[in-house]
């Protein structure tokens, strides 16, 4: 006796019905999941516009980059909420409490170690929102089904920094700490604003900031949506490529020559500078020498006046406000002569990282 219909069309109908039934079941299940989730007391929206609601502050958090961990420190959140980290936390002098914390993801673009992830059982996974190397959507799709909220926060965009700090504050009930932090931010920004407030648009130093993928004869510059454009503006300068779309782009070297910038800046993330790094190979100077030797560059104001500098990666993250005075002083030395801008950087490290600041954070060109 045949249990399965021999007739082809009956078989097709049977298969279609089976698929429909299963799909319906899956749909019902997923809808039900959503309905089951309580509208908790804490509701936050991350930088991808995704809303997350929590019944109470999470106690188990996975953090994949040091910027987010820094903000957590800045808001005085207990560090034991962090149960999983990434390979970025290798500097044990800066992150001693994470020496034994399991690594869940080696770098922003590597695979998540799901066993480590499940071991750590975080409730929240904090990851970059708009970084080109990270597929935040893919991570969200993988983790949300198993109940881990993926919180997309950058902490490297100037215009969004305070909003994102507020998200963390709300999540961990650290609103007071956030306010204190913003007061500090306001103070620093006002200090800079007061000094540069008087200068006109045309007397802002014209700045070109090059990305780390730039080659000697093939420049890549930071453009409109980069945080550096905002920071340079805030520090009293003007990124001459601010109107170009996107975050970075290749430009014709002639455009730089034509722009005749007053200052040339470089993103120093690939150089041996920053916290606990001292540019031992003198790569900074070597690099700037190559730049000065570019065809036609000897006629640039920036090169003639020796106004070239390489900025360490910290200036692009949550330290950006504390770094603003340093930046402003580089662009307007005379206006900030009396200010010890290093103080703000030192204070940042002592107050939030509980450590003395060591390392070379800015390389300035040494004219021979």
């Amino acid at each position: 006796m045949d249990l399965v219909p021999m007739n082809i069309s009956k078989l097709a109908v049977f298969q279609a019905a089976l698929i429909l039934f299963c799909s319906f079941g899956v749909y019902q299940y997923s809808v039900q999941e959503e309905n089951d989730a309580d509208r908790g007391a804490i509701i936050v929206i991350d930088s991808n516009g995704v809303e997350h609601s929590f019944v109470e502050s999470p106690t188990r958090v996975a953090i994949t980059n040091t910027y987010a961990a820094t903000v957590i420190r800045m808001l005085d959140v207990e560090s034991d909420v962090i149960v999983g980290i990434s390979g970025d936390f290798y500097d044990s002098s800066l992150w001693p409490e994470f020496i034994d914390t399991p690594i869940i993801q080696q770098s922003a673009h590597s695979e998540i170690d799901f066993e480590a992830l499940l071991d750590a059982r975080p409730e929240v996974y904090i990851v970059f929102a708009t970084n080109g190397m990270v597929d935040t959507n893919a991570i969200r799709e993988k983790l949300e089904p198993v109940g881990i909220r993926v919180l997309a926060l950058d902490f490297y965009k100037y215009d969004n920094l305070r909003y994102e700090i507020n998200v963390i504050a709300k999540l961990f009930s650290k609103e007071k700490e956030a306010n204190d932090l913003f007061v500090e931010f306001d103070e620093i920004e006002s200090l800079v604003e007061d000094r540069i407030g008087g200068i006109s648009e045309t007397s802002r130093p014209r700045v070109v900031m090059e990305h780390h993928a730039s080659l000697t004869r093939d420049p890549v510059v930071l453009t409109g949506t980069s945080q550096w454009t905002d920071l340079i503006q805030k520090a009293g300068g003007k990124n001459i490529f601010a109107d170009l779309p996107g975050h970075t782009t290749h430009v014709d070297m002639e455009a730089i020559l034509d722009g005749n910038p007053d200052v040339l800046m470089f993103d120093g993330i690939t150089f041996d500078i920053g916290f606990n790094a001292f540019d031992e190979g003198n790569d900074c100077q070597t690099h700037m020498n190559f730049i000065a030797e570019r065809p036609g560059f000897d006629e640039l104001k920036a090169v003639q006046s020796g106004s070239m500098m390489i900025m360490s990666g910290e200036f692009a993250g949550p330290m950006m406000i504390h770094g603003l005075p340093t930046l402003a002083k580089l662009l307007h030395p005379s206006l900030f002569e009396d200010i010890d801008t290093e103080y703000y950087l030192d204070n940042y490290f002592i107050k939030y990282h509980d450590i003395d600041r060591v390392g070379k954070f800015v390389c300035e060109f040494e004219k021979v």
Binding site: S107, G132, D252, M253, E254, A255, L257, P295, E299
Partner: protein, 347 residues
């Protein structure tokens, strides 16, 4: 002289004329390209005047014309010609119209070298401006050495070369992927930008060195035209009966192609399409006779490169769209159109 011979001579003259016209167009395009740039005080007229010596140039103008624009355009011409000729030689001696200079694995080797330099900081010429270039070239030479070794095997066929090329590409790709995986975001970004390909990377001295190397190899390629004709039209047995040694021809032409490709790509990064399409486009107007196909491919390749580079530079100035990307965008559809227009018809 009978009518058939006369017609053959006439055909030859017509083809020569077409190649000449293409060459002249390329020269004019190059001159036009010399006048393009973001500099506000160096438009078309000024540039021409300065080049012709009718106008004195400031030091800046001179730097721009001779140290920025001229090397780049010369690189476009030489690089385009080299990749196109390499592609034509490879297609002929492997009997496969789908191969390109990237098929042999030379480009993958170069990318591997660049990855080593960028991610691991390891290079044959460390701490130098040329660290990445030297490493890319060194690794692509390793691939050339592999090809030479293959050539000395007794029963190496055309397919074997292609398969080994694919294997090399896979292996290099695997190593590069592994390095990318463990690289920092910044290094990843640097590697990605390197691979986009750019003609402005080599300076004038380097471009001249590349030109000498490439121009020195062209006559050798031309010398093998007959052998390539026999091999590409009839296969191995037909070639032997015509006095052509297929294994030797294949080995020599592939080494030549690989070297020409590596000399360009080590400096510019990955540039595809030209090596595949320029020979095909040439065949559409000039047929498969390598005595004419090689020079015609060279000119077509130069034309495509100059055109793509100039367009990529001027379309959204000052934003530069990398030449490799531009080549695919304009070249792909154009190539498709040419193929469809010529389908089934006599050339």
């Amino acid at each position: 002289m009978d009518s058939i011979s006369e017609k053959h001579i006439e055909n030859g003259k017509t083809q020569f004329l077409m190649v000449l016209i293409l060459g002249i167009i390329t020269v004019f395009l190059s001159l036009f390209a010399m006048g393009q740039g973001s500099s506000s005080n160096l438009d078309m007229m000024s540039t021409i005047n300065i080049i012709l010596g009718l106008e004195a140039a400031t030091e800046l103008q001179s730097d721009i014309i001779w140290k920025l624009r001229f090397p780049r355009i010369l690189m476009a011409i030489i690089g385009g010609a080299a990749l196109a000729v390499a592609g034509s030689l490879m297609q002929g001696c492997l009997g496969n119209p789908l191969v390109s200079p990237l098929t042999l694995g030379v480009a993958s080797g170069a990318a591997l070298g660049a990855a080593f330099a960028i991610v691991l900081g390891v290079s044959v010429l460390p701490y130098s401006n040329l660290a990445i270039v030297a490493n890319a070239f060194f690794f692509s030479l390793i691939v050339v050495a592999i090809i030479i070794q293959l050539g000395s095997l007794r029963s190496i066929s055309a397919e074997s070369y292609i398969l080994v090329g694919i294997a090399i590409t896979f292996i290099s790709g695997a190593v590069v992927s592994t390095m990318q995986y463990f690289a920092t975001d910044a290094q990843l970004s640097q590697l990605a930008h390197w691979s986009f390909g750019s003609l402005s990377r080599p300076d004038l001295i380097q471009v001249l060195a590349i030109s000498i190397a490439v121009l020195g190899l062209m006559p050798t390629a031309m010398k093998w035209s007959w052998d390539l004709n026999a091999l590409s039209i009839g296969g191995d047995e037909f070639a032997i009966s015509t006095g052509v040694n297929p294994a030797e021809t294949r080995r020599n032409m592939l080494i030549l192609s690989a070297f020409m490709t590596s000399v360009v790509i080590a400096f510019t990064g990955l540039i595809g399409f030209v090596g595949l399409a320029a020979p095909h486009m040439s065949r559409l107007i000039i047929g498969n006779d390598y005595r004419k196909l090689i020079p015609c491919s060279a000119i077509f390749g130069a034309f495509l490169m100059v055109f793509a580079d100039t367009l990529g530079r001027t379309l959204f100035a000052p934003i530069v769209i990398p030449v490799g990307i531009m080549l695919s965008i304009i070249g792909g559809p154009f190539f498709m159109y040419l193929l469809l227009a010529n389908r089934g018809g006599k050339k």
